[in-house]
Symmetry: C2
Subunit: 125 residues, 2 copies
DNA sequence: TTTACTGTCATAGTATATTATGACACTAAC
DNA sequence: GTTAGTGTCATAATATACTATGACAGTAAA
């Protein structure tokens, strides 16, 4: 895995797993990779993965069964959609709007975004 | 100034100045705050501000006159708009699209964004 | 019980961002 | 020339993320 400079590694690992939960690649009850296994996979230290898992446990999106592993908690997805959507609309979107205005962007620049969102909406019909 | 955890401080200081250039609060030829002055203002070390300024100098958006200070370079704004717009469309927007789809967002969620962009477009007429 | 997984904890080392501080050099104005 | 501003450089100290590694404990299955 390539890590970007912006965020710390253990946050990026958390974000990666959150994405897998949101996209349904990880379902409630699923076992997530063991601390050691993921550490080897991502070429990262055990402790760093531990930190990601501890964070996710605090967020209530994974459960820990000692000696067995970590598992996606029952309402992880609903909780994430609610929390991340709120964060997105309140924190990220305002910054986005500001940046778009400053860069003199117009709606046409967002055509791709708009198209993909419409596809997404049609899938739900 | 309150610094977020995501990025390093010297990057956030750079972003702050870039924003002031993009919004026209800083114009070509304007002197930007001295290293020492801004350090006191932001309650940050001189060296940290120096690092921000060195970065901006490398980006070609400020010029350095030894013994006098740093000044916004002539085509800083055009260069920034070009570079940041490219970065925005190629790097940030794809992540945004992905996130929006994963969170099951629909165009209506972006009404505010588009309204403000339309205002912006009308201002330019 | 042994084996092979799991997580947990502690310790030490490295890299980097940031701070703190002093000293030096350039420039402009008095 | 003195003064007060500017940037520049070097050194040491601190905080934090990350690494490396070993040891210990819980769980499940052979």
């Amino acid at each position: 895995m390539e890590f970007s400079d912006g965020k710390t590694i253990f946050i990026q690992i958390r974000d990666r797993l959150v994405d897998q939960i949101l996209t349904g690649k990880l379902l409630p009850g699923d076992k997530i990779p063991s601390v050691r296994e993921l550490a080897v996979d991502l070429e990262v230290n055990r402790n760093t993965v531990m930190r990601s898992y501890a964070l996710m446990e605090n967020e209530g999106i994974v459960d820990n069964k000692r000696g067995i592993g970590f598992f996606v908690s029952d309402h992880a997805r609903e909780r994430l959609i609610q929390d991340e959507k709120k964060f997105f609309l309140l924190e990220e979107l305002p910054k986005l709007v500001h940046q778009a205005k400053v860069l003199k962007m117009v709606p046409a620049d967002f055509k791709k975004l708009f198209d993909q969102l419409n596809e997404n909406q049609n899938e739900n019909k």
